[in-house]
Symmetry: C2
Subunit: 360 residues, 2 copies
Amino acid sequence: MSLDLSGERIRATYRLTTSEPEALAEAICVEQTVEFPPEFIGRQDILDGIIGQVEHLEASEAVISYPAEAAGAEVPQLLNLLFGNVSLVPGVRLVSVQLPASVRAWLPGPGFGIEGLRRLTGAVGRPLLASALKPMGLSPRELASLARDLARGGLDLIKDDHGLAHQPFCSFEERVKRAAASIREADPTCLYAPHLTGPAHRLLERAELARDAGAGALMVCPGLVGWDVLRLLREEIGLPLLCHPAALGSAVVSRAQGVEHGLLLGTLPRWLGADVTIFPNHGGRFTFTPAECQGIAAACTSPDPSFAPMLPAPAGGMRLERVPDMLDLYGQDVVLLIGGDLHRGGDLVERCRAFRELVG
Amino acid sequence: MSLDLSGERIRATYRLTTSEPEALAEAICVEQTVEFPPEFIGRQDILDGIIGQVEHLEASEAVISYPAEAAGAEVPQLLNLLFGNVSLVPGVRLVSVQLPASVRAWLPGPGFGIEGLRRLTGAVGRPLLASALKPMGLSPRELASLARDLARGGLDLIKDDHGLAHQPFCSFEERVKRAAASIREADPTCLYAPHLTGPAHRLLERAELARDAGAGALMVCPGLVGWDVLRLLREEIGLPLLCHPAALGSAVVSRAQGVEHGLLLGTLPRWLGADVTIFPNHGGRFTFTPAECQGIAAACTSPDPSFAPMLPAPAGGMRLERVPDMLDLYGQDVVLLIGGDLHRGGDLVERCRAFRELVG
């Protein structure tokens, strides 16, 4: 028998930091597919059709193509093909990926996107305003009270802090029910996004619980629960999804290794169904550069016939004073996510209103 | 109300590459817990009990403790607490973790461990011998034929190559059924470990299918499907589990960032229920050093009252000539995993027997 391949190829661009780019590019072709010495492969169709092919190699960038069928129409294997074993190789950074039509067809893309989020929240012609319920240690009742004030203050989106999971001092179920009820009562157009952490066998059940309790969105950290959970929630739950970068940092921060910021925190969440991607803005508590942040924002909103545009949510120590600068960098299609700084000065509702006034 | 905390603490040691280790250690305490300006927290019990505490800071290593309750008895949140947002901070490497009794109690540990694997395979007093079914592109029937030869040759463990998922040219179900049947027929003590890639909503179903088809073990890549899947399979399926490092590389390869090799690829899989951890041996296709490999092996087998010892499986371009050197480094408690090199010379069964003779 011989392989019946469509000829459609996935094209991945890797930046190679090495003195021997040709050899490394050829090694990637083998490592990411057959992982087997080509000289021991007796089948010409495998040699020709399965092993990656260097399509282009210039300076330090190699474009390598793989057969669409190697991804098997499943998210974990698509990631494996693009970045499984080469994640272990220093000096290899995956910078961009072009998908053929057959792969785009099985990736869901944002269920709501920018337009859907604006419709749900009524936030038109301006950035969406968001905050987080925290600090860890507050009870569900206390968090619900905070949530009420944030919603009264005019925010569009209120998410759990990503450290809120299912802890003895704050159970998932009680928190979600109380916070969702408070927010709905204060402002029915304000979306509440509980943080869904697992466990693996109860993710869908918790997502359904949240939806039934009135949560208007969900937040997940693919670095904690796996990327395919994003796709699953997109297909099964019908709520807008926020992607959070916890535990994904190692893949982006070392610039000669890993995956490019825009691809990991923009393109990939967009393919899998996120409507918002949260990431550390430059000049806050983290070290992303303005260019890296712009790369993420561009990946969220670049024109794409298959996937609706989604919203970047630069965060991580943002203050009200940063709003003008964030609008300069990101324009109006952005979620401005401010946490602790809204608690500065005492009156949370008033501070939220001041935040709202900053964006017109 | 006030927090009712046990006082049990999780102790995490971070190596800090910075000119200001005190400030960075204090920042980690806040970042990993409340993620909120402490000066805005009115609750003394949260300030005292929830925020991380620097227990020790010497040279570049900080020991930071967190309340056991912050992990919420769930794997994703434990990882989040230890390494969620700090994964985004260059110069922070998580090097070791000490868990209190209450956390150890909800982590399953290996279901079989070294002793269980030796009992199942009959491999006593010597290393276990393993290989992988590959290359990608072969049909289930062809892979089953390879599997038969590998089992006839005397191997103890045969795994899917990690690039085998559920592809049009090789479906998960057909491959697993055929390979499991071939191996059982050739040698009932040889364990077959199919690679379980997802999708997220079908992982357990596929694991059950594999078990019912006669697979004696399972392999997962936590970097592709999420760490909690390892715990779930351990608790639900009752087969030995192999952990594969695909897509986890970025977390270990940059030595001033991420997670220490032994912790990520040894300790963590062991806590969550793996019986074997596969990793790239030094001197193969990857760049781990002998010391890093030893760190993983030590994490697999160090005495621990809560978790049975598990087997390291150094791999990634190993050849028969490397066996003596691997025995020197790892001793007898090791899985020797050799792939392509068994196909050198033509007669696979004979080559496996030569492999078997090398270990007495």
